[in-house]
C-alpha cells in the first residue's frame, strides 16, 4: 500500500483544484433552462397577526408568474422537531406547527408570509414590494425570563412560552441539592452563552425542478444531509414520495450546523416548480441569512460547583434557560438537552450532576445546533465555574482540574451525567499542553507585557465532548425520531477503480481526500483510484449526513464495513481463480496469494473477473463486486482536550488580544493530520469569535440590530492569532473499527472558556476584582468591568 495515501498520510486535498480555479459547483452556480426566481416577503415585525395579504397589484407586475401565501400550504404538513423531549413531570414538549409560509401570525422578523415567483430575481423583488400585507403588530416576546413570566405569547396555544422543563438526571435532583447544601465550599456563577449566527460564507440556496412526465422532483439545495432533507419533506411536509424526490447538495460553502435543517424555502420552490412546470431558484441574501438561518447557543445559566475541603468535586448543579426562538428547528430540542446535559460531568469524577433546562419560545429566529451544539455550552459553564472555584479556594486551576480528572485506569467510565466514556487520558493532554504552550515561560512573557503597560493572563481548559452521534437505540431512548447510523456502498468497477458512495456530506471537511485513504489502506490500492460520491440521494444508498463530528466515526466506519465485505467477496473470486479454497487465500497489499505457494492474483485481476465471470460457479459466487454497509455505532465517541490561551489586555481601552492559543486534542486515531489540524483551526477561530467578538442582538421589539457584516463582528484575519495544535496524545476509540473520535467541533468547544479564563486572569493580575465577564469580552465589556471592579 502506498504509504503516502493511506491512513495517517496527509495527501493534498483533491477538491482544492476546482475550488482554486473557480470551477466548483455550488447550488447558486447551477442554472437550468427556463428557470424562474423566487423571492420571499418577510415580516418586518417580530410578532403580529396577519389580517390580510393583498397580492393583486404584485401579481400584475412585469414578469410575475405566481404568488404563494400561507393559505396555499394550510393543507400540507409542518417542519418537525427531530427530538421529542419530555418535561420533568412527564409532559411531552410543546411542538407548534412550523408551516412552509406563516399563516395567521408572523412570529419573528424575517418570518416569510409570501413568495413571488418571477422571470428574474429583480422582477420578483419588485413584486414583493408591491404585496400589501396588513399585519397588526403585537408586543414582542424577546427576553426569556419575561417570556416565562409574561402575558404575551409566541404561540397562542402555549400560554407559558415554555417548550419543556427538562431535568437530567432527575433521580439525582434531591441528592445533588443535598450535596450542595452540605458542601464545604460552593462556587456559583451566573453566565450567558451568547447567541451566535453561524455565518457559513455561502448563503442558503434552493432550486427545484419538476418533471411532469415522470412526476419526479429534483431539489438542489445547500444541505449537510440531503437524505434527511428528503425524508423530512416526504414524511412530514409535502408528502412527495421519497422515490419521486431527488435531493442534491452539490458543493456546499460551509454549514456549521445551519445547513443540517430543512427550511421552508426548500418546500416552497418544490411547490412552485410543480405549479409552474419550470425550475424555480431561490438564493438567500446575507440579510435573509442573518434573519432566518438557525442561530446557535443563547443560554442563560446559573451553575454551582460543590467541593469538599480538599477540592474534590461533589456536585454540579445547573439551571439553564435555552432560547429556541419562534419555531422548533429540527435539532433544537436535542441541543440544549441531550447534547448539553449529558456532558455536564466534564472530564471529572464528580459523583452527582443535575441539570434543569427550560426551553423558551421567543419572537426571534429559531435556534439550533451550531458548531459544537450543546457541548460548548456545557464546557463553558463547567470550565468557567471551575476557574472561579480555583480562585476562591486558592488552588492552581490546573491542579484543581487534575485532582478531579477521570484517570486512565478508570475506563470505561460511567459519568455522573449518564454517559460511558470509553477512552482518554486527560493528564497526558494537560502535560502536553503545558509543554506546547510553554507555561514555564509565562512569567517572563507576563513581565514583558507589563513593561508595555499591558496585563497578561493565562487561561486553561479541559473539555470532553460526545461525538459520532450515535447509537440509534440510545438516541431512540433519548427521544430522537430518527436513527443515527450511516451508510456506504463500495463499488469496485471492472477496470479496478473504485467508487465509494457515502451518506456523509463534505462541505469543507475534505471527505473526497480523507475517505479514499481508508479504502486505499484496506485494499492496498492507490487512493487516487478511489473516488467519493456524496450529496445526491439518487446516487448514494442512504445517510444521516454530516454534523456532530460524525462523518469519519460513523460514515467512515460504514466504509470500513463495506470494504471488509468487498475483501470477503474478492477472496472467494481469488480462490476460484487460484483453484484453492477460500480459507487458503491470503490478502496483503492488494495481492491475493495461495498460502504456502507463489501463486498470486492482483486486486485488479479479481475486479475484472468479477464482471467477466465466464467460468464462475454461479451457485457459489455472484458476479459483480459491490457491497453496502449500514453502520450503527455502539456508543458516542469522546474526544477530549486541554487548551491554553494567553491574552494581553489594555487596561486603558479594554481591548483584548489573543497572543497565544494552544489546543491539544485527543481525537483517537488520525486519518489525515493536515485536515484534522485545519478543522481545529476553524473551530478555534469560531470559538475566539464567540469569546471576543460575536453577539446577536435583538432589541425589545424584536428587531435584529446586527443583521449584516457591517454590524455583526465576524472574526477577520487581523483579529486572530496563529494557533499551536497538537494531536499526539490520542487514545483510540474502543468501539469503532478506525479508532477515531471526530475533530470538527473541538476548537469551538474548547476555546471560549479558555479565552475568558485568560481575560479574568489578566484583570486579576492587575489587581482588578473581576470574576466574570459575559461574552463577547469586548473592549466595552472589559473596560466597564474594570471601572466597576
Amino acid at each position: 500500500m502506498p504509504k503516502d495515501t493511506g491512513i495517517g498520510a496527509a495527501p493534498k486535498r483533491r477538491e482544492d483544484v476546482r475550488f482554486l480555479t473557480g470551477t466548483g459547483q455550488y447550488s447558486d452556480d447551477i442554472s437550468l433552462v427556463n428557470q424562474a426566481s423566487a423571492v420571499f416577503a418577510r415580516s418586518n415585525v417580530a410578532n403580529g397577526v396577519i389580517k390580510s395579504i393583498d397580492t393583486t397589484a404584485a401579481a400584475a407586475m412585469p414578469g410575475v408568474l405566481a404568488i404563494f401565501t400561507g393559505e396555499d400550504f394550510v393543507e400540507v404538513g409542518g417542519n418537525p422537531a427531530g427530538w421529542l423531549i419530555n418535561s420533568r413531570d412527564g409532559e411531552p414538549m410543546k411542538e407548534p406547527k412550523r408551516p412552509v409560509l406563516a399563516h395567521g401570525k408572523v412570529r419573528h422578523v424575517g418570518d416569510a408570509y409570501a413568495a413571488v415567483i418571477a422571470e428574474t430575481v429583480e422582477q420578483a423583488k419588485d413584486a414583493v414590494e408591491a404585496i400589501e400585507a396588513d399585519i397588526e403588530e403585537l408586543p414582542a416576546v424577546i427576553n426569556m425570563k419575561d417570556a416565562l413570566a409574561g402575558s404575551n405569547y409566541v404561540h397562542d396555544e402555549i400560554e407559558t412560552n415554555q417548550c419543556f422543563d427538562w431535568g437530567w438526571i432527575e433521580d439525582n435532583r434531591a441528592a445533588t441539592d443535598e450535596a450542595i447544601k452540605n458542601a464545604h465550599h460552593v462556587t456559583t456563577l451566573d453566565l450567558v452563552n451568547n447567541r451566535l449566527v453561524p455565518n457559513a460564507m455561502e448563503p442558503r440556496c434552493s432550486m427545484a425542478n419538476y418533471n411532469a412526465a415522470m412526476n419526479e422532483y429534483t431539489l438542489y439545495t445547500t444541505s449537510q444531509n440531503p437524505h434527511l432533507t428528503r425524508l423530512l419533506i416526504s414524511a412530514f411536509v409535502l408528502g412527495i414520495p421519497e422515490n419521486k424526490l431527488t435531493v442534491i447538495a452539490p458543493d456546499v460553502g460551509g454549514g456549521f450546523g445551519s445547513k443540517i435543517y430543512h427550511y421552508g424555502e426548500e418546500a416552497l420552490v418544490l411547490a412552485a416548480a410543480k405549479k409552474l412546470k419550470r425550475p424555480v431558484k431561490w438564493t438567500s441574501d446575507r440579510t435573509e441569512a442573518f434573519l432566518t438561518d438557525a442561530h446557535g447557543r443563547d443560554h442563560v445559566t446559573t451553575i454551582e460547583l460543590a467541593m469538599d475541603k480538599e477540592g474534590n468535586f461533589l456536585a454540579f448543579r445547573t439551571e439553564t434557560m435555552a432560547n429556541v426562538g419562534a419555531y422548533l428547528s429540527n435539532f433544537s430540542t436535542a441541543t440544549p438537552t441531550f447534547l448539553h446535559g449529558t456532558l455536564m460531568a466534564g472530564n471529572y469524577t464528580v459523583p452527582l450532576v443535575y441539570v434543569n433546562v427550560k426551553a423558551v419560545f421567543t419572537n426571534t429566529a429559531p435556534v439550533d445546533a451550531y458548531r459544537g451544539a450543546g457541548r460548548p455550552e456545557a464546557t463553558y459553564s463547567i470550565e468557567r465555574v471551575i476557574d472561579k472555584a480555583a480562585r476562591e479556594i486558592g488552588m492552581d486551576p490546573i491542579e484543581l482540574r487534575r485532582k478531579n480528572f477521570v484517570k486512565p485506569d478508570q475506563y470505561p467510565f460511567g459519568s455522573a451525567a449518564g454517559l460511558e466514556y470509553d477512552s482518554g487520558n486527560y493528564d497526558a493532554l494537560m502535560d502536553k499542553m503545558e509543554d506546547v504552550a510553554d507555561l514555564a515561560g509565562f512569567d517572563a512573557r507576563r513581565a514583558a507585557s507589563e513593561a508595555k503597560g499591558l496585563l497578561r493572563g493565562r487561561g486553561v481548559n479541559a473539555y470532553i465532548e460526545a461525538c459520532g452521534i450515535a447509537p440509534s437505540n440510545l438516541v431512540g431512548i433519548l427521544g430522537s425520531r430518527v436513527g443515527l447510523y450511516d451508510a456506504s456502498t463500495v463499488r469496485v468497477n471492472a477496470t479496478g477503480n473504485i467508487s465509494v458512495m457515502v451518506g456523509a456530506h463534505s462541505h469543507g471537511q475534505g471527505h473526497e481526500t480523507a475517505f479514499p485513504q481508508i479504502v486505499a489502506e484496506l485494499l492496498g490500492v492507490d487512493a487516487a483510484s478511489v473516488d467519493i460520491v456524496h450529496g445526491d440521494t439518487s446516487k448514494i444508498p442512504f445517510g444521516m449526513g454530516t454534523y456532530g463530528s460524525r462523518s469519519l466515526a460513523v460514515c467512515g466506519s460504514a466504509i470500513v464495513r463495506a470494504t471488509e465485505k468487498i475483501i470477503v467477496k474478492a477472496k472467494k473470486i481469488a480462490a476460484h481463480m487460484l483453484e484453492i479454497t477460500d480459507s487458503e487465500v491470503e490478502f496483503n497489499d492488494g495481492v491475493f496469494s495461495a498460502v504456502g505457494t507463489n501463486k498470486t492474483v492482483s486486486f485488479g485481476d479479481v475486479a475484472l473477473k468479477a464482471y467477466i465471470p465466464h467460468d464462475f460457479p454461479i451457485d457459489a459466487i455472484e458476479p459483480g463486486l459491490e457491497e453496502t454497509a449500514f453502520y450503527d455505532p455502539a456508543n458516542f465517541t469522546y474526544p477530549s482536550g486541554a487548551y491554553c490561551c494567553e491574552v494581553e489586555v489594555d487596561p486603558e481601552t479594554g481591548k483584548v488580544t489573543v497572543e497565544r492559543m494552544t489546543a491539544v486534542d485527543d481525537f483517537g486515531n488520525i486519518v489525515n493530520p493536515m485536515i484534522v489540524t485545519g478543522q481545529v483551526h476553524g473551530g478555534l477561530g469560531q470559538g475566539i469569535g464567540q469569546a471576543l467578538l460575536e453577539n446577536t442582538v435583538y432589541d425589545e421589539t424584536g428587531q435584529l440590530l446586527n443583521a449584516s457584516y457591517m454590524d455583526y463582528t465576524m472574526p477577520r484575519a487581523d483579529d486572530l492569532p496563529f494557533y499551536a495544535v497538537d494531536h499526539s496524545q490520542g487514545t483510540a476509540c474502543t468501539h469503532n473499527p478506525l479508532g477515531v473520535k471526530g475533530c470538527g467541533e473541538a476548537g469551538a468547544i474548547g476555546s471560549p472558556p479558555t479565552v475568558v479564563n485568560a481575560v479574568i486572569d489578566a484583570l486579576q493580575s492587575g489587581g482588578n476584582n473581576v470574576t466574570h465577564i459575559d461574552m463577547p469580552v469586548s473592549p466595552l465589556n472589559v473596560w466597564t468591568a474594570i471601572q466597576n471592579a
Binding site: E15, T21, G22, A200, M674, M714, R716, A717
Partner: protein
C-alpha cells in the same frame, strides 16, 4: 438596457445589462463565470473580488456598465497557461488554505493583488490586507501561511500541526 463590452480573462466579451446590474451578476449570470461568489450584500465579505484594470475590486460594489471597456480578471483566469495552479493557488493547496472553498476565489484574487503591490509582506501586512475578506472555515492560519509561502518566504516557523 445598455450594451457593455470588456475584456475578461483576456477574451473580449459583451452583453446587454440593466443600469442596476452589478459586475458580479454580469460575470456570473451572463458570462457563466460562477467562480466569483456572492457572500454578502454590504461589500464586506470579499468572496466577489476580481481585478479591474489590475486593481482588486469587490465586484458586488461595481455596476457592470462601470466596467465597460475595462480589463477584468477573475479566478477562472488565474491558472497557468498549461492549466496548472499558479503559485498562489498552489500555495493554498499545499498549506491547506481552504476548506469549503467559497471564500477562496476572493482570497486568491486579494492575495494576488497584495503580492503585486508588496512582494514580501510581513505576517501583519497580510492579515491587515485581508481585512476585507471573510473566511469562516480556516481561522485564517493556513491562509496567512499560504500567502506568505506564495511570496517565497520561509513559513517553517509557522506551526503546521
Amino acid at each position: 438596457m445598455t450594451k457593455v463590452t470588456m475584456t475578461v480573462n483576456g477574451k473580449a466579451v459583451s452583453g446587454t445589462v440593466e443600469g442596476r446590474t452589478l459586475l458580479t451578476s454580469f460575470l456570473r449570470e451572463d458570462l457563466h463565470l460562477t467562480g466569483t461568489h456572492v457572500g454578502c450584500d454590504t461589500s464586506q465579505c470579499g468572496a466577489c473580488v476580481v481585478h479591474v484594470n489590475g486593481k482588486a475590486v469587490k465586484s458586488c460594489t461595481m455596476f457592470a456598465i462601470e466596467a465597460d471597456g475595462a480589463e477584468v480578471s477573475t479566478i477562472e483566469g488565474q491558472a497557468n497557461e498549461d492549466g496548472s495552479l499558479n503559485a498562489i493557488q498552489a500555495a493554498f493547496q499545499e498549506h491547506h488554505g481552504l476548506q469549503c472553498g467559497f471564500c477562496t476565489p476572493g482570497m486568491v484574487m486579494t492575495a494576488a493583488s497584495l503580492l503585486k503591490e508588496n512582494p514580501k509582506p510581513t505576517v501583519d501586512e497580510v492579515r491587515n490586507h485581508l481585512e476585507g475578506n471573510l473566511c469562516r472555515c480556516t481561522g485564517y492560519h493556513n491562509i496567512i501561511k499560504a500567502i506568505m509561502a506564495a511570496s517565497g518566504q520561509d513559513v517553517s516557523a509557522i506551526a503546521a500541526e
